[in-house]
């Protein structure tokens, strides 16, 4: 049996993955997606770009006159390159846990929603109101009303799909 893992096969497989992911957001089945969904597609393929890096990619993808849509013909080569070059590598999970621990100055083992909100909406690449609301709904323990970040990290890092 021929060696299934030559470069060509890898590229083809990668491109089929990209195609599938793209199709999920191609609502009109005309091989275009809304530019606002590009970030979701790229991330769902396993990449961890920062917001700034994402903006750069989108700028590259949009035509000279941005229509608000990205065509598959343009997306495919760009995304293939990203995946094959392994750009936007994942952040190691223990680093994520450390990040929470660092914010938990009193070493309580949990964070108050208010304090986490402050950090995430004011520093780094700030969350929008919608993002912080969604995150809190997933992260806040409903009984104790705090964020048990260890559990939250486990939830986020679990690759159940």
């Amino acid at each position: 049996m021929a060696d299934k893992y030559n470069a060509e096969t890898i590229i083809t497989e990668t491109q089929k993955r990209i195609c599938n992911a793209f199709d999920v957001f191609d609502h009109e089945s005309n091989k275009t997606v809304d530019v606002r969904e590009i970030g979701t597609i790229i991330r769902s393929l396993g990449c961890f770009p920062s917001e700034a890096e994402l903006h750069d990619v989108i700028a590259e993808l949009e035509d000279e006159e941005p229509t608000g849509f990205v065509r598959y013909e343009k997306f495919l080569p760009t995304m293939t390159k990203i995946l094959l070059e392994r750009k936007f590598r994942p952040i190691p999970e223990d680093l994520l846990l450390q990040a929470f621990e660092v914010l938990d100055q009193q070493k309580k083992g949990h964070l108050e929603p208010v304090e986490l909100t402050k950090y995430l909406t004011q520093e780094g690449e700030p969350f929008t109101q919608e993002e912080i609301d969604e995150m809190l709904s997933a992260a806040v323990d409903p009984d104790k009303n705090v964020i048990l970040y260890k559990d939250f990290v486990s939830m986020m890092t679990l690759y159940d799909g």
Binding site: A21, G39, F48, I91, E131, D133, P142
Partner: protein, 772 residues
Amino acid sequence: MTKVISMKAAVIIQRWYRQYAARMEMRRRYTWNIFQSMEYADLQDQIKLYNFLGYLMDNFTPSSSERNLISHIFRENEVCRDAEWERYFNYTKIDVPDIYSGPRLTFPLDMVQAADLVEAFRNKQQLHSRYVLQLLLETWKLLRGLPNINRVSTCHSKEITVCGDLHGQLEDLLLIFYKNGMPSMEKPYVFNGDYVDRGKDSIEILLILFAFLLVYPGDVYLNRGNHEDHIINLRYGFTKEVLGKYKLHGKRILKLLQKIFSWLPLVTVIDHRVLIVHGGISDTTELALIARVDRHKYVSAMKPPKKKTPSRSSLHAASEHYNEMITCKNRTGSVTFPKPFAARDSFQRRSLQDFSRTVARTVEEELEVRRRQAQFSMSSFSQSHHILGSAPSCESESDSSEVFDTSDDDWKQILDLLWSDPMSQDGCVPNEVRGGGCYWGPDVTEDFLNRHNLQLIIRSHECKQDGYEFCHNRKVLTLFSASNYYEIGSNRGAFVRLGPDLVPYFVQYQATSMIRGLSFPQIVKRTEHTALKVLREQLFVHKSDLLSAFQELDKENTGLICLSDWASAIERVLHLDLPWRVLQPQLVSSTTDGMLDYHGWFRDLALKNHSSEHIEQSMLETLYKHRSTLETIFRIVDTDNSGLISFEDFRQTLKLLSAYLKMEISDEVINELVISTDTNNDGSIDIDEFMEAFRLVDKSRLERGKSPFKFKQEYQRLPQEEETSQTAASTGPQISQGPPSQTAGSLGTHTENCSSSQTEDLCDISVVVPPQ
């Protein structure tokens, strides 16, 4: 901690969270795609049914036993001789026992009674059949006076509320009333069809809407949807619901509803500017024509009226006419079947008249017909007309004299209104997915709006993830009011308010009694879990074809294929437009060196499906694929709606279906199928029990009135479920009763999440019967 460090920490958390959110969004999205493609597959099932019935019409050469079955299928044994109409719908003889604690209606209804009715249904009470019949009769009388086109105005600064499909989901209607207020003179409503089927409280929704219609006839407007159709109801659960809730008078109620559905107006126009219609339009839609049709003659999409025959002599014509009257009198329905589509017209115009010529009548029947024909002279239409017309409720018979005036055009106009869907390309093509109506493009919208001086079309008919969606340059709005339609968490519902400026104001919602206490990711996971179960079922059902496809790719018979081949094979076999490579991690649990042991994979699928081992695999698969056709035929054959069919009819049905499918089915296999059901010894088979034992139907869903073709749910411990989850799940039947708590956080800017009444019961829990 320095600012730099906290910033770095924030960046890491943000970056990771955004990646996580993207993954969830992808899963939410493809889950949605799965449901949509399953619905597509379900619609294909409907087409299969039509094709099967068409095949029966065309192809069978009846031996005596088969002929009986087939004429059995096509005849509705309804009592409907003229003098019996009044007796048939007479509710006054129905006693209401003292013990009955539900609402006791007095007519004319008033607002207080309507509100009480809503409250009673919220408390899970059932309206007594006497009042049901009375309410339906009053409704029918009112509807008969309404025009085909409702005309509404937003004068006096009234805002008009428009709602889309409700599909028997009472909770959503209650939510709408809670958020928006109940209908009144200050609060007019337009309801855009599809009140029934699939959900479990279809009759309650109808009764509420009709009650408000009676109380506020100038402020409540009802459009007809494609599910306001008794043959569709046979398949999608409404018929079953009514018969289950009203064991004694259910058939009467259904009969009356049949008439009521045909009398529902077709469209509503607001301020001469906004058109509200259930399905949509086509390039031939013309409101002036719509205004003139006799809408009540179009009882069902499956029953086009008889064709006009202008060339015949009056004598012949008269006898034709008389045949028609006889047919109506004996209530032999005409079940008609669309041609498998090659041609432009999807619904072929066949009537039972065509069919009955092929089926030889018994000698006695022949004599009877000729005797009747001899009795009446050709010129005494009016006489016979009079006889038929004398029964006060017998409208359709007296209208049969107008059967000559019905045209194909009228028929098409109505089908288009109730069944069409918008598409993004220009043009207008027949809607082959649904089998009726068409797909219409933005150019058709533009042209239509210009011709009629309108600015917006509001339609429903299609489920939208956010409850509503614009298309065609915001000139077409799809509005869907049944939240969680495919599954808990699958979609929001929405309604819209229009003031005199006709700028739409949307309110979205999601009935949350089931997702109380669940966070958004948990909801996504649950919904995805169900979708994947359904998908695995589909894979299992296609095992033989898939196996062949895999073996083709595994030429050296190693039992292994690579994942890429796995995906390609599935794509080819299943014809479902789904992102298989994205779904792969969920469907394939383990591989060695990137190669999949496909026999092992099928074993895993089988385990998850608890399939019956005894019956031959491909037989099971094929019948499973066609289970909805099978069940619908059973129910049609079960003409007295007893839930039982005779062993002989059962056998014949299976044999006919298998001949059509070119599939071998031996008597031994049929016997096995029967044995696995708990049959009474009198040679009859309980349809529900059969379908259950055949592992096709979730019985508790049936009891709750849901459609047979729906997604099975099992409450198993969901993978990676958090321990802190309030709805702790475990295998087996489970009661889920979280304390009333805050609902999940905002799912978007417009969402107003509100929970309905806390009296919610034990919802979608299924009891899985282990294999016998």
